[in-house]
Assembly symmetry: C2
Amino acid sequence: MKKTPLLFLFALLTLPLMAQKKRFTIDDLIPGGSTYYAHSYPATKYLTWWGDACMELGIERCKNIDGQVISPALATLTLENINGILAANGRKTIDHLYSISFPEPHMPYVLIDRGREKTLVDWDNRKVIWKATLTPDVSNEDWDKHSRSLAYTAEHNLYVLTADGKTHQVSSDGSADLAYGTSVHRDEFGIEKGTFWSPDGTLLAFYKMDQSMVSKYPQEPPFFSPQGGTAHSDSSTSPKEEDGRGLPYPMAGETSHKVYVGIFNPQTDKTVYLNTGDPTDRYFTNIAWSPDGTRLYLIELNRDQNHGSLDEYDTATGEKLRTLFTEDNPKYFEPTHPIQFLPWDDSKFIYQTRRDGYNHLYIYNVASGKQVKQLTSGQFEVIDVLGFNTEAKTVLYTSNEQHPLQQNVFSVDMKGKRTLLGNGTGWHNASLSESGQYFIDNYSSPLIARHIDIVPTTKGDIVNVLSAADPWSDYQVPEIKTGTIKAADGVTDLYYRLILPTDFDPNKKYPAVVYVYGGPHAHNIDASAHWGARGWDIWMAQQGYVMFCLDNRGSEHRGLNFEQATFRHLGVEEMKDQVKGVEYLKSLPYVDADRLGVHGWSFGGFMTTSLMTTYPDVFKVGVAGGPVIDWRFYEVMYGERYMDTPQTNPEGYEETSVLGKAKNLKGRLLVIYGGNDPVCVPQHTLSFMRACIDANTYPDLFTYPGDGHNMMGTDRVHLHNVITRYFEDHLK
Amino acid sequence: MKKTPLLFLFALLTLPLMAQKKRFTIDDLIPGGSTYYAHSYPATKYLTWWGDACMELGIERCKNIDGQVISPALATLTLENINGILAANGRKTIDHLYSISFPEPHMPYVLIDRGREKTLVDWDNRKVIWKATLTPDVSNEDWDKHSRSLAYTAEHNLYVLTADGKTHQVSSDGSADLAYGTSVHRDEFGIEKGTFWSPDGTLLAFYKMDQSMVSKYPQEPPFFSPQGGTAHSDSSTSPKEEDGRGLPYPMAGETSHKVYVGIFNPQTDKTVYLNTGDPTDRYFTNIAWSPDGTRLYLIELNRDQNHGSLDEYDTATGEKLRTLFTEDNPKYFEPTHPIQFLPWDDSKFIYQTRRDGYNHLYIYNVASGKQVKQLTSGQFEVIDVLGFNTEAKTVLYTSNEQHPLQQNVFSVDMKGKRTLLGNGTGWHNASLSESGQYFIDNYSSPLIARHIDIVPTTKGDIVNVLSAADPWSDYQVPEIKTGTIKAADGVTDLYYRLILPTDFDPNKKYPAVVYVYGGPHAHNIDASAHWGARGWDIWMAQQGYVMFCLDNRGSEHRGLNFEQATFRHLGVEEMKDQVKGVEYLKSLPYVDADRLGVHGWSFGGFMTTSLMTTYPDVFKVGVAGGPVIDWRFYEVMYGERYMDTPQTNPEGYEETSVLGKAKNLKGRLLVIYGGNDPVCVPQHTLSFMRACIDANTYPDLFTYPGDGHNMMGTDRVHLHNVITRYFEDHLK
C-alpha cells in the first residue's frame, strides 16, 4: 500500500474549550432532530451540469458558476418564465428551481419532474417539448433522454410511454409474486433498478422476478397511530405488502426466487426474453448494452457465488452468443460494476474485478473476450468509475490510493498513467460534466466541513464554489483522534477513531462505549469531516463517555483478503479484532476498564449481541439494534456469499448463531428492532428473546412499531435518547 | 351488610423472625418455580365422591375417608387390578389412580380418562363397560353418564359417539369461521362450553358460532424456539390459528359474531335449531334443560347488555314458546348462572340476579313465570350454588355473608332460613356429594394453609381429613396486615393488604410497590391463606419493599353499585380509589413517598399505565403486563358491558384511552406482553409504544414470544425476575 504521510491525518482536532461555546442538544446532532440541519449540516450549493456548464440552482434563478459560455438563453431561465410556460400548457407550476435538470447540453431544455407529472420545457422558445402524466400507483420511472421514452411500473406490471404519447403495456400478469421492471436479487450485486434503456433509447431491457416459490415473512402486528402507522418508517426499507400473506423473503439455504431478463421493443410491441434456460439458483447481474444496441452483456453468477461468467446475448433473438470469460474465486466472487465500453473505441470495454486482491480496472477486447491491459494496480481500491474524458481518452474514477481512509478523484490514461485530481486530501464526491472535462468536487476532510470546487480533468484552473463554515464552530466539540492498532492476526493495521469526553480531564476515569458495525460493504472511520464521527458519538462524549470505533477485518476498502478473512464464520474474526480494540482502550489511563459498553445496528447489532454473549466479561452494557441473530434467518444473496448455506456450512452457522450463546449473557443488553424491519426481520430479535428466556438470562427490549430497518425522522432522535438512557442507567 | 366481628380478621399475622429461619428463593414463591410445589404449596389430598362416599385417590389404592359403607368391592379397587382389566382389553394402562372418577353411586365403575382413550371399567367384575378411542384432533369432549354418549369436536365440527359405538356427525361445514360445539361469546356470561346434554342424555344442545364477519387479528411474527415456540404458553388463552389469516377478534363497536343453538337427537340423526330469528347482536346465554328434556331455557341479552329475557323453547320443534320474564338494568345486566330446577319440585326453579344490588337466589314458578319468593337477601353476595340436599329440600351455596373477604358454605331451606355450614371463617371451596348430604370442605384462612373436612349439610359430625402444615413455617415470612380505608367517594370501605419488608425496621424508610388489578370479576384481598398474598409480594418484601394492594370500587363481591361505579369510564373511579390507597401509604412513617411503584397485569396493566400517565407525579416506577391501553381494541362482550360502544360513548373511550396520556409519562414504566396474547392483543402495547414515541416519552418494553395473556411455567419465574429487576433498577 502506497502510504501518503499526510501530516494532518493523525493530528488532533483540538478545539479549545471556551466558556462561551455552546453545548449540543440531541436535536442538534441526530438526523431528524429539529435543529440538525441548522446546527450540524454544513452549508451547501445545489449544482448540476448543463453539458459542460456548471449550473447553480436557486429558487427563482439559476446561474452559471464556472463562466462557461453556454447560451444567451440564461437570462430567461427564471422561475417566473418556466411557471408561465407550465401554466399555459395546463401543467402544475413549481415553487423553486432546485429540482430541474438539463437533459441536453446545447438546448435550453429543462426537465420538470413533479413525480406523477413530468414536463420537458424549452424555456427560451416557451414550448413544452415532451410531457407525461402518470397515475398515483406508478413507480420505478426511467426516462431516456434520447428517445424521450418513459418506462415505469404500476401494480407489478411494466409500461412504456413513448414520445408519441402512446402507452405500451409490456406485461399483464404481474402480481405480488411476479414483478416486472423492479430491482431483483434483493439489491445485491450492485443492482439498484429493473429497467435498462439501450444507448439510443429504442429498446428496453428489464428484469422479471418470480417470487411465488419464496417463503413469506408476515407483516407486523397491527397498532394504532394517529400518523397512520408507517409515517415514521424508513420507507426505502419498509415492506410493501398487499395481500396479507407476507413479504417474500428467501432465507439462507431455502428456495430462492427466479429472475428473467426481457427486452422490449416499443416499435414492434414485442418482448424477447433472454434464452438463459432454467433460472433456478442463478444470478443475472450487471446488465450492460453494447453501444449499437445489438448485444446485451451480463455477469451470471452461480448460487454459491464462487463462479461467474461475462455473457453476451443477441438483443434481437434473446439467444446467448458466447461467454467472453469466466471468473472464479475459492471463497466468493462479487461483481458489482457492469462493463463500460470506451466512448472512443467500441471494440474495448472496462471490466472491474478484485481478482488481484483489490478492485481495479481492466481493458478487455470485445471481439476476443481477452484482457488487453490491467489499467490500474496497487494496494488500493478503485471505488467507482465516474466516466470518461473522451477527448483526452482518460477514465475518471475515485480510489483510496492516497490513503486507506480517503477517497480522491483520479484520471488514468490508456497507458495506465494515473493522475491525482483535486487536492488529494479528505473524502471527495464527484460529478462529471458531459464531456468529462470537469467535475464538481464536493469534499470534506477532518478539519473541513464542506468544500466545493469545479475541477478540470486535464488542464485549467480550479474554480472554488463554496468553502462552508464548520457548523460546529460555536460548540464545544470533543477531541477526535484516529490511529491504527494491529488486528488479531498480528499483522494487519486497523483504523480506529477515539473521541474524548467533551470536558476531558486526563486524571479522571471515564466509561467508554465502542460503536461497531463490522460488516462488509461499509466502514466507519474515514478522512471526511470530523473523521466520520457520528452525531451520537459527539452527544455521548458530551455526556462524559470515551467513544471508540474500529473498522475490523471484513469491512470495506481494504482489499479482498481483508474482507474475506471472515468467510464462513461471520463475526468471529471481527470480534477478535474488536477485542484488540478493547485491549487498546483498556490501556488508556483515563478509561475505566470496568465500565465498557458496546453499541451497533444491523451487522453491528449482530456484533453487539455476539460480543455480549461471546465475551461476557468484557462489556458491562450493550445496545444492539436491528440485529442479525442467526444467519439462517438472513437473506440468500448476502448471507450465502459470506456463509455458504446452512446445509453446506452447518458448523459455521452454529458457531455464529447468537441463540446458542444466549445462556452466556451477563451484562445488560438492550435489543431494539423496527416492528416492520424487512432486512433483519423481527424473527432475529424475537428468537433471541425466546432463547434468553429459555436460558434464564435477561436482555432488555425496545421496539419501534411501524418502522423498518432504521428509524428515521423524529423516531431517530427518540431512538438515540433510548440508547443513551440505557448507558446512563447501567454504565455510569 | 351483616358485620361479623371476627377478631382474627384484623389481627396481625406475625411470625417471629428467628435467625435459623430460611429466606425464600424466587423459585420457592412463583408458580412454575422449580421448588414452588415443595416450598409454597400446602399438602393436600385428592378427594372425590363415589355417591355419598368420599374417596381418597392414591397411586395404587383408593380409600374411603368418611367411613360411609359403600361396597365390598373396595378391596379390589387397586391400580394392579384396573391395569389388568385395561391390558386384557387392549387399553393403555395408567400410572396412578389420581385421575379416576366414579360416575355411578352404587356401581363399582371407574372412568379412566386418558384424553383420547376413555374407558369405563367395572373393576369388581373385571369388565370394560364402555370405551371410546378418539383421534388426536379431538377436543371439547362432553360425556353423559346416563346415556354414555360422548359429544366432541374435531376440526370445527361436532360429533356424538353413542353407547352403541356409532359415531354421529352432527355438522360437516365447520371451519375456522364456523365453529360447532365450542364455547361462544368469548366465554362471557358464564359460558364455558358449547355442548349441553339433556338430563337423560338423549338430546344434545350445542352452540354454533359464525365468525366469518369478524375482523381477524393476526398471529404473532415467527420466531425460532428449540421448544417449538408455544411450549411456554398459557394454552388456555393462546390463539389457535389455522389458516394464517388471524384469529377472529370482535373489537368494541365492530361487527360481532352470530350464535345459534342447535339440538341434536342421536336416535334420529336430526338437528333442530332454535328459531330465534336473525342472531345479529344477540347473546344466547345460560342454557338450561327442563327436567323432562322437552324444553330449553336460555337468557337472551341484547348487545347493549341492558335488557335480558328468560326464554323457553320447544326442544322438538325449536320454536320459541314464551318469554317467562325480562330483566333490565340502566347500566348493564350480566346473567352468569343458568336457571336450576328444584330436584324435588319440577314446577319451580332457582334464578340468580343482582337486581336488589347483590347476587341472590329467587324461586320462580315455571308455569306462570312469576317469582314465588326471594330466597336469600342481604348486603352480601351469593357466589355460587353448589347443589341441593334433596331429602332436606335445601339449597347449598357459597356466599360472603360472614364477611366481605370470606367465602363460606351455607344451606337455605325453602322458607329462606339460612344455616352456616363449616367453621365460618376463611375461604371455603366445597364439593357436594351425590345426595347433597355432605360436602368436602377445603379451606384456608390467614393462619391456616389448608384444612379439609367432610361436612354434613344437615346433621352429623364433621370428619377432619387434613390439616396441612404451613409450608412457609421454616421461612422468614413478612408481616401481612389488612384493613380498610375510605374510597374516593368518602363513604365506601375498601379493603387493603399491607406487607412489611421481611426485616422490617420501623425507623427506616422503605420503597413501596402497589400491586393492582382493579377490574370487575376479581378481587385481591380475601381471608384465605396469608390474606391472599401473592408469592411475588413475599419476594418483594424480602427484597426490602413495602407491598400494598387495594380492592377498589369495580372489583367483585361487594355488590352491584360498588361494581357499577365505573360504568362508561373504566379506570377513572378505580384510579381515584388507588390514589386514596397511596395517600394512606404515604401516611405510614416507614414509607418513602418519593419511592412508590405500581405493578399490575391485564386490567391491572391498564390501571398501571393509566396511573403512570394520569398521576405522573405519584409513582416513580411502574410495571404493566398484558395491558389494555384503549378499550376500542378490547372485545365486544366484556368491553361494551362496561363502556358501551365507541360510537355511543366516544367521550368515555377518549377519557380512558392511555394513548392520549402517553405524553404525560414521567416515571419509569416497563410494559410487558405475551407475543401471542389473544385477550389483550399486542395492538394495545404496540399502540402505546407508538404513542409514547410520537409524544417523545420513554417507556421500556419486554415481550415473551409465544406466550399468551399470561406467562406460565418457567417463563413465569423469568417474568417475575424481570419485574423485580425493574424495580431494583429504578426504585431502589
